[in-house]
C-alpha cells in the first residue's frame, strides 16, 4: 500500500494527466457533481456520487458508429473507428465499479462490441471508498463492499491523506508512475476507515434489503403479479431512471442525414419509452405497466438468469433520488419480495 498527503493531490493529478486524459468528479454550480476532465486548478469534489454515472466513459450517451456516402445507387461504408486513447477515471465509487462488470457481460460477450471494448482496454479506474454513505445507498444488498472498492487501484481518503492499492496490472503501472509522490505504508489507517464505514453501513435504513426472493428462473412467479398495476400506477415513462442508472444498457441505432452523407450513430434508449418495442406490425408492450414490469424483471430476474445470478443493480441509489415521482427499485423489491413470502 502506498500513501501521500492530500496537499500533494494536485501533483498526483498532474502526474497522471501527463500520460492520460484524467477525469474526476467536480462540483457543478447547481450543487451536484459530474465527471469532468482535469486541468490545472480543477478541484476534486467531496460529493458522495455524481448524477450521471461513469458508464458514460465506456458507453457514451451518443457515439458515431460509422459513416456512409451515397451517390446514385452506390453506397460507400466508412469505418470511422479509432482506437481509444488512454484515460483514467478517478474517484469512482464501489457501486459504479461493479456496474462495469455488469456492462462487460453484455458488451464483451460474443460479437464483442469493439467500441466499448477499446475503451475498456484503455481505461484505468481509480476507485475510492465511501466515507459518508447516504440513506439511499444499498450496495451491500448486491454484495458490494463500499469500504474496498474494486477498481484497478483502490483508494481511501482521510482528512489529510490518500492511500492507494493496486489490484490489477494496469493499476500497478499507474501507481508506479506516482512512486515519486507516494510512500510505502502499512494498512492500519485504512483498516480503521474500513471498520468505520462498515459500522455506518449497518445503520443505514436499507441495510436489511435482500435479494433472496429474486433471481433467475422466477419469471412465472413475478410476471403475472397484480402488484405491478399498483407499482406502475403513476410512472411517467420519462426514462430518467434508465439514464442515471449505471447498469442500464439499452440503446438505439439511428441514421442522421447530414446533407453530405449519413452518420449511423448509437444513443441511449429506455425500455420505459412507449416507442421502444414498436414495430411495423404493432407493439408488444402497449401499456406503461408492461414497460415498467419489463425493466424490473430484467434487472431482478432475466439478467441474473443469463449471468450466473448476478443482479443488474448495484444499489447506488440514483433512481431513488432522481425519479420525479419517487418510484425506485427498492420499493419494487420490498413490495414484490414481500408478496412472495406472504
Amino acid at each position: 500500500m502506498r500513501k501521500c498527503s492530500l496537499d500533494k493531490i494536485n501533483l498526483v493529478f498532474a502526474e497522471i494527466a501527463k500520460s492520460s486524459a484524467l477525469y474526476l468528479p467536480v462540483d457543478q454550480n447547481d450543487g451536484s457533481a459530474a465527471y469532468k476532465k482535469w486541468e490545472e486548478g480543477t478541484v476534486w469534489s467531496n460529493a458522495l456520487n455524481t448524477v450521471r454515472s461513469p458508464k458514460d466513459f465506456f458507453f457514451p450517451q451518443t457515439e458515431d458508429l460509422m459513416k456512409f456516402k451515397t451517390s446514385g445507387k452506390n453506397i460507400e461504408i466508412i469505418d470511422t473507428r479509432s482506437e481509444a486513447e488512454d484515460f483514467v477515471v478517478f474517484g469512482v465509487r464501489a457501486c459504479d465499479v461493479k456496474s462495469f462488470d455488469i456492462l462487460d457481460r453484455v458488451f464483451l460477450s460474443e460479437h464483442v462490441d469493439s467500441f466499448y471494448g477499446s475503451r475498456r482496454e484503455h481505461g484505468v479506474i481509480v476507485s475510492v471508498a465511501c466515507t459518508r454513505p447516504s440513506e439511499t445507498c444499498f450496495c451491500k444488498t448486491f454484495g458490494i463492499d463500499p469500504s474496498e472498492s474494486a477498481g484497478d487501484i483502490s483508494a481511501w481518503k482521510t482528512e489529510t491523506e490518500i492511500f492507494f492499492k493496486a489490484n490489477t496490472q494496469k493499476g500497478e503501472e499507474l501507481l508506479n508512475k506516482l512512486s515519486s509522490l507516494t510512500e510505502e505504508c502499512d494498512e492500519t489507517v485504512v483498516n480503521e476507515q474500513k471498520a468505520k464505514i462498515n459500522a455506518v453501513m449497518n445503520k443505514l435504513p436499507l441495510k436489511d434489503l435482500n435479494t433472496e426472493a429474486f433471481g433467475g428462473g422466477k419469471t412465472n412467479e413475478f410476471f403475472n403479479s397484480p402488484l405491478w398495476d399498483e407499482l406502475s400506477q403513476t410512472c411517467l415513462g420519462c426514462g430518467t431512471c434508465t439514464f442515471v442508472c449505471p447498469t442500464c444498457q439499452c440503446y438505439d441505432i439511428k441514421d442522421f442525414n447530414t446533407g453530405n452523407g449519413v452518420i449511423r450513430f448509437r444513443c441511449w434508449d429506455s425500455c420505459m419509452y412507449s416507442e421502444f418495442t414498436k414495430m411495423a406490425h404493432g407493439n408488444n408492450r402497449l401499456t406503461q405497466k408492461e414497460r415498467f414490469r419489463q425493466r424490473f424483471m430484467h434487472k431482478l430476474v432475466y439478467y441474473p438468469e443469463n449471468n450466473d445470478g448476478l443482479f443488474s443493480c448495484v444499489g447506488c441509489g440514483r433512481c431513488i433520488s432522481k425519479c420525479p415521482i419517487s418510484m425506485n427499485i427498492v420499493k419494487v423489491m420490498k413490495k414484490m419480495g414481500g408478496a412472495v413470502n406472504e
Partner: protein, 277 residues
C-alpha cells in the same frame, strides 16, 4: 484505427434481381458487389439490411444455404425500410450484416424425421430456406408435408416454385389454401389452422410453424389437440430489433433475446417466456 472486428459495421450488398411475388411482397436477390454471397448461413437465420438514412431492419434469409450463388429475401411492404426497398431497382446497393440468430436444428433434431411445415402469408419466407435445404439433402429426411395459406391466390408467396418444383418432388405433399373463395381458384378454401385439422396428420412428425401471431396461436392449439407434443413443434418469432446481437435490449422477452437465442424457438421453450411477443 480500431482494428477489432465489429459486427455492427456491415458489408456492401447489391440487389441483382427483384421479383414481384404478391401485391405487397417482393423477393430481392442480394450479392456483394463482386458477385458472391455476402456470407454463409444456416436455415432460419436472418440478416440486417439497411439503406443509410432510411433505417436498418432484420429479415429472414429465404434462400437455402445450399444456394451458393446468392441470397434471397422475401420482404413485405409495411414500414420505412420495406417501403424504400419496394421502390428500389436492380443495381441498388444496400448494406448487409449477419448471419444472426439461432437456426433450425436441421442437422440434428430434424434428421431422419417426417416434417410438417405450416405457414401463413409472408411466414413462408423463413421456412422456405429450411424446405429447400431439406429438398437438397432429400434422403436425410422423411416425408415432407407443407400446408400454406394466404388471404387470396395473389397473396401466395413463391407460388411458381411451389407449383413447379415442390409439388413435383417425390415424398413432398403440398396443401394450399386461401381464406375466401376466389374466381380462378379451385383449391381448398379456409383458414390454415382449420385446414390443418381437416387434413388430420399423424403425430409422428416434427412441425414447423410460421405466420401471423393469430395463425400460430390457433394452429398450435390444433396440433396439440390432435396429439402433437410441444417439444416437437418449432416456430420463429419476430420482434423489433436493432443490434441483432443481444445487446440493445429491444427484443428481450423474459430471459431471451429473440435476435440471439431465437428467432427459432421450440414451442415448449415459448411457454417459459412471459406472454410478450
Amino acid at each position: 484505427m480500431n482494428n477489432r472486428e465489429e459486427t455492427l459495421i456491415p458489408k456492401l450488398g447489391v440487389i441483382t434481381d427483384v421479383r414481384i411475388d404478391t401485391p405487397d411482397i417482393k423477393t430481392f436477390r442480394v450479392v456483394t458487389p463482386d458477385g458472391k454471397k455476402a456470407f454463409d448461413h444456416r436455415p432460419g437465420q436472418c440478416a440486417m439490411l439497411s439503406i443509410p438514412g432510411v433505417g436498418e431492419a432484420m429479415f429472414s434469409i429465404t434462400s437455402s444455404p445450399t444456394n451458393e450463388e446468392y441470397m434471397e429475401f422475401s420482404i413485405k411492404k409495411c414500414g420505412c425500410v420495406t417501403d424504400w426497398l419496394h421502390q428500389a431497382e436492380v443495381g441498388q446497393q444496400i448494406t448487409i450484416r449477419g448471419p444472426y440468430g439461432n437456426p433450425f436444428p436441421v442437422d440434428d433434431v430434424f434428421a431422419g424425421k417426417n416434417l410438417l411445415f405450416i405457414a401463413g402469408g409472408v411466414g413462408l419466407a423463413p421456412l422456405r430456406s429450411v424446405i429447400n435445404y431439406c429438398r437438397h439433402y432429400r434422403d436425410r429426411y422423411g416425408k415432407i408435408d407443407i400446408v400454406y395459406g394466404s388471404r387470396s391466390k395473389d397473396d401466395l408467396l413463391d407460388y411458381q416454385e411451389i407449383i413447379e418444383e415442390w409439388s413435383n418432388d417425390a415424398g413432398v405433399d403440398v396443401h394450399l389454401t386461401i381464406d375466401n373463395p376466389q374466381e380462378g381458384w379451385d383449391g381448398h378454401v379456409g383458414f390454415v389452422p382449420n385446414y390443418v385439422k381437416e387434413l388430420g396428420f399423424d403425430t409422428d412428425k416434427v412441425a414447423v410453424l410460421c405466420g401471423p401471431p393469430i395463425m400460430i396461436k390457433f394452429t398450435l392449439e390444433g396440433l396439440c389437440a390432435i396429439g402433437f407434443e410441444k417439444t416437437n413443434i418449432y416456430t420463429t418469432l419476430e420482434l423489433r430489433m436493432k443490434c441483432g446481437v443481444g445487446k440493445c435490449g429491444r427484443c428481450n422477452v423474459g430471459s431471451k433475446y429473440v435476435c440471439k437465442d431465437g428467432p427459432v424457438f421450440r414451442c415448449d421453450e415459448l411457454d417459459e417466456l412471459p406472454a410478450e411477443y
